[in-house]
């Protein structure tokens, strides 16, 4: 008998910390009556900037404090989904285009439209394509904080050596091809360009530049003739040896090749400017300009948004913070920290000045004609089809037309399934 009671008390003791841990959640206010809002994000490089914005926010709202919850990118979405299920998700968190509709469709995000109207949040000061990216069924769920466009980065040193004129805003795909051919130097293992199998940086911009599309009205554009033309433009460079094949770029991605000066031109994000700037050689002789014109001049624009969890029990305070994050003041602080382009119009000067050697203005100019990053309710499913199907064609094995058509069919099937 005694043994049993001992066992029971032992169990009770073991479960006590668990119970305590459970009841610890939910209580929002700390000792001084302040509400603590948790803010989920993944980029450690942006923490200092975000802390400055939070400090400014807390000064204006002494009754609210904001606590950053940093989760590494590789586990951000899995952790977020699990914590939403368990009810421990942050009150406010970063959202991207790939995941947004999944969250909005499952009603786990707080609708913001009424708040925006009530508090007159300056939504119109942010790029319209981006704002629309975070609306679902006509309701706004997120407010953009920054944006990214893709530009053509080039290595002036390699251009000088080959005696080729630097790229500029007048460049077309013909110029890009000619230059890539001239710049390729097999003996030095230098390539002119990187036709990398990377959807945001290379595939989507090429498809759109050729006049094609990725996703329109719930249908795949990969089978579209012009889309195929855009993809063929890329694989052709690989077949001719002006770009490394994808099999080589898996091991050393275009960005790394550019850093080690083994490629003369790459597509890369505005957000990468800081890292380019940190490479001593590139700081001196890297340049950037708009993407060359195919049938159309275009780029892909994407930006992150702040959203509020529908399960949050501190929605009023969370909204105050999200509202502040969409303000001019917050955007200016963010721009000064120099990591990303703030989405608030006219606040980007500080970012431009932070790297005077690079002509970063092009990234902001491209916002006008940038195509928003394509997404649907279960984006990851059809995105996951792309690389396995296109891989062979991007490794110099040919057959891009068939691969793209098959991809289009399979993507349409996935889109149909997602509509249910």
């Amino acid at each position: 008998m005694r043994r049993r009671t001992l066992l029971c008390s032992g169990l009770a003791a073991a479960s006590a910390p668990v119970l305590a841990a459970c009841s610890d959640e939910g209580g929002g206010a700390d000792g001084g009556g302040r509400t603590t809002v948790s803010y989920g994000m993944w980029d450690p490089a942006q923490v200092p900037g975000m802390k400055q914005i939070i400090a400014a926010f807390e000064k204006a709202n002494p009754d609210i404090s904001v606590r950053i919850e940093l989760t590494p990118w590789s586990s951000y979405w899995t952790t977020l989904k699990t914590s939403m299920r368990g009810g421990t998700a942050p009150d406010v968190f970063w959202m991207n285009a790939v995941n947004f509709q999944l969250y909005a469709a499952h009603d786990v995000l707080e609708p913001l439209s009424e708040h925006i109207e009530h508090d007159r949040t300056p939504v119109d000061r942010h790029p319209e394509q981006l704002v629309r990216l975070y609306a679902y069924d006509g309701i706004q769920y997120g407010l953009p904080k920054d944006f990214d466009t893709i530009g053509l980065w080039y290595n002036k040193d390699l251009f000088d050596k080959a005696g080729v004129k630097y790229p500029d805003t007048s460049w077309t795909w013909d110029d890009l091809r000619d230059a890539a051919a001239e710049l390729t130097n097999p003996r030095e293992r230098v390539h002119g360009f990187c036709s990398e199998m990377q959807r945001q940086l290379v595939l989507y911009p090429a498809i759109h530049a050729a006049g094609g599309y990725v996703l329109r009205d719930g249908h795949s554009g990969f089978g579209d003739e012009r889309s195929v033309e855009g993809l063929r433009f890329l694989t052709d460079m690989i077949d001719r040896g002006w770009s490394p094949p994808q099999s080589a770029m898996v091991e050393n991605i275009g960005r790394v090749r550019f850093w080690s000066e083994k490629v003369a031109m790459v597509h890369d994000l505005s957000a990468m400017a800081g890292q380019m700037y940190a490479v001593p050689a590139l700081k001196d002789h890297a340049g950037v300009t708009v993407l060359p014109k195919g049938r159309e001049r275009t780029t892909v624009i994407h930006g992150l948004a702040n959203v509020i969890s529908a399960k949050s029990d501190k929605k009023a305070a969370a909204w105050k913070f999200v509202h502040f994050m969409a303000s001019r003041r917050a955007a200016e602080i963010q721009a000064e920290s120099g990591v990303t382009i703030s989405s608030y119009a006219g606040t980007q000067d500080a970012w431009l000045k932070s790297m005077p050697e690079f002509d970063l203005k092009h990234f902001i100019d491209m916002e006008k004609y940038g195509v928003p990053y394509p997404s649907s309710k279960n984006t990851a499913v059809w995105e996951n089809l792309q690389y396995p199907l296109l891989g062979a064609a991007f490794s110099g094995k040919g057959g891009i037309e068939d691969a793209a058509r098959t991809l289009g069919e399979q993507m349409d099937r996935a889109l149909k399934e997602e509509r249910g």
Partner: protein, 314 residues
């Protein structure tokens, strides 16, 4: 009484224990249950209960944010219809085949390290064991550098002999072998330790007697070491097969999603990961996991049947 403690233990494990009639529970047994309770509860909560849940969820469509609806055998139909599943299964069986190469390798090294008069055995043993205790992520990253097509050491060395540079992990024809080689490299040490212990339990006088009869080292290996090591080998082969059927982390680290050889190298568990955590198809992933469990159980049962034909118990 047996002369060979290790093989005696294996013997009772291998043969069916004699059935005994149910006895009244004695006081001492209660205490025994108390002692196994911590492990039993841990096993129940963290292994057995999730297993039952997985089985249940494999018949449902699982929402990305919780909530599930019963869909019957839809998930199983999807798994069986999907060509990528069969390809992943084929790949997994190839990994299993390659993984088993570690066993003969480990036996040979173990026999060599067991030679009389060899100095620094502890050092060798530690060296061989280090890869096994190294994190798979670290192993994968380091080997990726060695394999690197542009800057890798392997290509550099092969270059001296006039071999063209090759992208080992992104060429579909070599990727499986490249990963398999790392698998073998990182697990050999573990089996080496097991085999060395097994060899230690073989009495020295057998070897001395064989030597007097004029048997050479090769003959001694095949007629004494190998047969007497077979119970250990059986244990190792069961473990090795189960581990290689569940292989995932190394492939995940070494391949990356943009690799053109993803289809040729994806394992069943890798596919499970993609379905469950990227494509939000937890229900189908649960069905896949359950089928893999059945496969492993089936193959293990087969091994236990076959062992009667080749395992010697002293």
């Amino acid at each position: 009484m047996s002369l060979f403690p290790a093989t005696a233990a294996a013997k009772s494990a291998g043969r069916r224990a004699p059935r005994t009639a149910a006895r009244p529970v004695r006081r001492g047994q209660r205490a025994a249950y108390g002692f196994i309770a911590p492990l039993g509860i841990g096993f129940g909560v963290f292994y057995f209960w999730p297993m039952i849940q997985t089985f249940y969820f494999s018949f449902t469509e699982f929402g990305p944010f919780g909530g599930h609806t019963w869909t019957g055998t839809d998930n199983y139909a999807r798994v069986l219809r999907d060509v990528t599943v069969w390809q992943a299964l084929g790949n997994t069986l190839i990994y299993c085949g390659i993984g088993l190469v570690a066993l003969p390798l480990a036996i040979v090294v173990a026999a060599l390290l067991n030679r009389r008069g060899l100095r620094g055995v502890a050092v060798y043993r530690a060296l061989y064991f280090v890869p096994f205790v190294t994190l798979p992520v670290a192993v994968g990253l380091v080997w990726n550098w060695l394999y690197n097509g542009d800057f890798g050491l392997l290509n550099e060395i092969l270059g001296w002999f006039g071999v063209d540079r090759h992208y080992w992990v992104s060429d579909p024809s070599t990727a499986v072998l490249a990963i398999g080689a790392v698998m073998v490299w990182s697990t050999t040490g573990y089996y080496l330790i097991i085999f060395m212990a097994g060899i230690k339990s073989i009495p020295r006088d057998y070897y001395e007697a064989a030597e007097l009869d004029g048997a050479g080292p090769v003959r001694r290996f095949f007629t004494i070491t190998l047969p007497l090591l077979s119970p250990t080998l059986f244990f190792a082969s069961v473990i090795c097969m189960i581990q290689s059927l569940q292989t995932f982390d190394l492939i995940f680290i070494m391949m990356g999603e943009k690799n053109p050889a993803v289809g040729e190298t994806q394992s069943v568990v890798g596919l499970f990961y993609t379905w469950a955590f990227i494509e939000n198809a937890q229900g189908a992933a649960a069905a896949l996991a359950f089928l893999l469990m059945l496969l492993i159980a089936g193959l293990t049962y087969l091994q236990f049947r076959l062992q009667r034909k080749w395992v010697h118990y002293g």
